[in-house]
């Protein structure tokens, strides 16, 4: 893939999640703290299972499914993002069947080894945790998330740092996109490939511009009465809906973690005593 189209894609990616976060659904209206807490409990519950667990992980898909529904989020887009980041986990996990060949159970003539079971478990964990995180940001937006983090005890300067990064991310991605496009328009034979030497020039120039930009921003802040103290103004209300959401989901997750809901239901349906 050529570089400028890669940058374009990243640009579009962040923008798309941001647009999703602008929607107005019951999920979007919740205080971000409630969603953040529920998601953290969810992730800890999911990853705390033993490595051969499959059936008890499956009920946890309730949470992403319900949230996608409540927040009216596009499941196809989220799935595409999931697949895009899966290579690393698959790469590490695919060694499990290789190293763990003890047979766990057989389906007819096919013996299933522990490695395949743990690999499947790993993939399910991956899908659950990543989709929960994506849903969190797609239903909340970045700025409210940072403010929620600040309210939950993140150092203020770090919250401000996150907000600043996010504000200038788009500006700088656009700037580097222009530089790369200018370069590729002037390099016919190389097909836009950037050599080490050229890269240093590009990076150095972009860095100089960036530092100048920071100086201008600082001036602008000073002229608006910046005294070194950043004020974050945001009204949040942690009402009964938030309590219901955070506490309700946490109770559900911990119940699903501690009691074998899947097994219970399965035995019910199949009449095993």
């Amino acid at each position: 893939m050529c570089i400028s189209s890669r940058i374009d894609k990243a640009f579009y990616d962040i923008g798309r999640l941001d647009i999703l976060a602008l929607a107005d659904t019951p999920l979007h209206r919740l205080d971000p703290r409630a969603k953040l807490l529920a998601t953290l409990v969810f992730i800890v519950c999911v990853v705390s299972f033993g490595k051969y667990e499959i059936s008890r992980l499956l009920p946890f898909s309730l949470y992403p499914a319900v949230l996608i529904g409540l927040g009216d989020l596009p499941p196809g887009y989220l799935a595409k993002k999931l697949i895009m980041v899966s290579p690393f986990v698959i790469f590490i996990g695919i060694f499990n069947p290789w190293f763990d060949q003890t047979v766990m159970f057989t389906i007819g003539p096919i013996a299933i080894s522990g490695g395949w079971v743990s690999f499947a478990s790993l993939i399910i964990r991956f899908i659950l945790t990543v989709s929960a995180a994506l849903i969190l940001i797609a239903s909340t937006g970045f700025a409210p998330m940072c403010m929620a983090m600040e309210k939950l005890g993140t150092p203020k300067i770090f919250a401000v740092q996150l907000l600043m990064l996010y504000r200038y991310l788009f500006v700088l991605i656009a700037e580097s996109l222009r530089i790369v496009r200018a370069h590729s328009l002037r390099s016919f034979s190389r097909k836009g490939k950037i050599t080490y030497r050229v890269f240093l020039q590009i990076a150095g120039n972009l860095l100089l511009r960036t530092i100048d930009r920071a100086q201008r921003i600082h001036m602008a802040m000073l002229s608006r009465a910046f005294t070194g103290e950043i004020k974050i103004v945001r009204q949040f209300s942690f009402g009964y809906k938030e309590w219901l959401f955070a506490a309700g989901f946490s109770v559900i997750f911990i119940t699903m973690r501690s009691a074998d809901i899947a097994g219970l239901l399965g035995r019910l349906l199949m009449e095993i005593k």
């Binding site: 570089i3 890669r6 999640l17 953290l40 800890v44 999911v46 990853v47 705390s48 490595k51 059936s55 008890r56 499956l58 309730l62 499914a65 319900v66 529904g69 927040g71 009216d72 993002k81 980041v85 986990v89 060694f95 499990n96 190293f99 003890t102 047979v103 766990m104 964990r125 991956f126 990543v130 995180a133 994506l134 969190l136 970045f142 150092p155 203020k156 300067i157 770090f158 740092q161 600043m164 990064l165 700088l172 490939k193 240093l200 020039q201 990076a203 960036t210 920071a214 600082h218 070194g228 809901i261 899947a262 097994g263 219970l264 239901l265 035995r267 019910l268 199949m270 009449e271 095993i272």
Partner: protein, 343 residues
């Protein structure tokens, strides 16, 4: 080198969260204390710069592959270790949230591996010692190369340690090490070369930027030993507590649940619920003939699970799991249709 939540155990992830949170708090305090409020916008914009520049790949001569800047060392040179640590941490948070690179539980690990190591080991203990205060020529190149290689080697080693200790991946420690370290040697060399190149460029074009970064930073009195011992203490305490949770019972969650409810697990199917269930079962079971006879599984496979698994019950578990999943998807779908209507 972004780790995913799926590869981590709660004990390892939690420990690294505590360590990283403590370091972030420490760095925040240091940055606040330094009187230079120009740094606040500079940190934000430079983090965005790192983000943008990471997307520009360049071809590595003679190999056919391409590389890009990671930026931790560069930020440390421009901002000093504390501000750089916060900036890199913010980049990793955004990557986790928007690109799903690494997860939320893995944030602690990722910030430690890619940020804290470079900012508090690679920069002050290696780069600073070799390069001194006037970065130029071969000293700069050597400093950046060594610092880049060491930071990335340590980072890769931390990834291996964290993954192995979590025990989700079956990869043996030794083969994982053999896979990770050489790749990150190459990445570290590239990182050192680019960092040195960019710093040299800035030094030629606008030396005052580096001068100013080198002088206004209160690095002389930065008690790096204190930082490292502090880090180690926090890590040991956190790991100790969390692993005690983990080892006294298969999982800490069950342990804490036992304290809350007085039972290790909530009432299972074998207890009082069962008799009620049995009655309901007769009415609701729609595939009673599919009940498997209880067979015990291969004993060597059962050692890791808390109770011996039988084929019948594990199949039942799977069926139940799939049912709940379908139910969840159904609910989600129904909600989606409902909320989609008014729009």
């Amino acid at each position: 080198m972004h780790m995913a939540d799926a590869l981590l155990s709660p004990a390892v992830g939690g420990t690294m969260w505590v360590v990283t949170a403590a370091t972030t708090a420490y760095a925040s305090r240091k940055v606040r204390k330094s009187l230079d409020d120009r740094k606040i916008p500079l940190m934000g914009v430079l983090a965005a710069f790192v983000f943008a520049i990471q997307m520009i790949n360049f071809s590595i001569p003679g190999t056919g592959s391409s590389g890009h800047l990671l930026g931790g060392l560069l930020l440390a040179i421009l901002l000093g270790p504390d501000a750089a640590c916060l900036a890199i941490a913010s980049v990793i948070v955004v990557q986790a949230l928007f690109f799903a690179d690494g997860g939320l539980l893995a944030l602690g690990c990722n910030i430690f591996n890619m940020g804290i190591i470079g900012c508090y080991i690679g920069y002050p203990l290696i780069y600073k010692k070799i390069a001194g205060n006037s970065p130029s020529g071969t000293r700069l190149l050597a400093a950046a190369l060594v610092a880049g290689v060491v930071s990335l080697q340590l980072g890769a080693f931390a990834v291996v340690l964290e993954t192995t200790m979590s025990g989700i991946s079956e990869l043996p420690f030794s083969s994982f090490i053999i896979m990770m370290q050489p790749i990150h040697l190459a990445i570290g060399i590239v990182e050192g070369l680019i960092t040195a190149g960019i710093v040299a460029f800035i030094w030629k074009a606008r030396p005052e930027i580096l001068d100013c970064a080198a002088t206004d930073r209160p690095l002389g009195d930065l008690p790096i030993k204190k930082v490292l011992t502090g880090l180690a203490t926090v890590a040991v305490i956190a790991a100790g507590t969390l692993s005690w949770f983990a080892s006294s019972h298969p999982d800490g969650l069950e342990w804490s649940l036992a304290k809350v409810t007085g039972h290790e697990e909530l009432a299972g199917p074998g207890d009082g619920v069962h008799s009620v269930m049995e009655k309901v079962q007769d009415k609701t079971a729609f595939m009673p003939d599919y009940g498997f006879k209880e067979k015990t599984a291969a004993p060597e496979a059962a050692d890791t699970s808390s109770s011996p698994v039988s084929l019948g019950t594990s199949t039942a578990g799977l069926v139940g799991g799939v049912m709940v999943m379908l139910l969840g998807l159904g609910i989600g779908f129904a909600l989606k249709k409902k909320s989609g209507n008014p729009a």
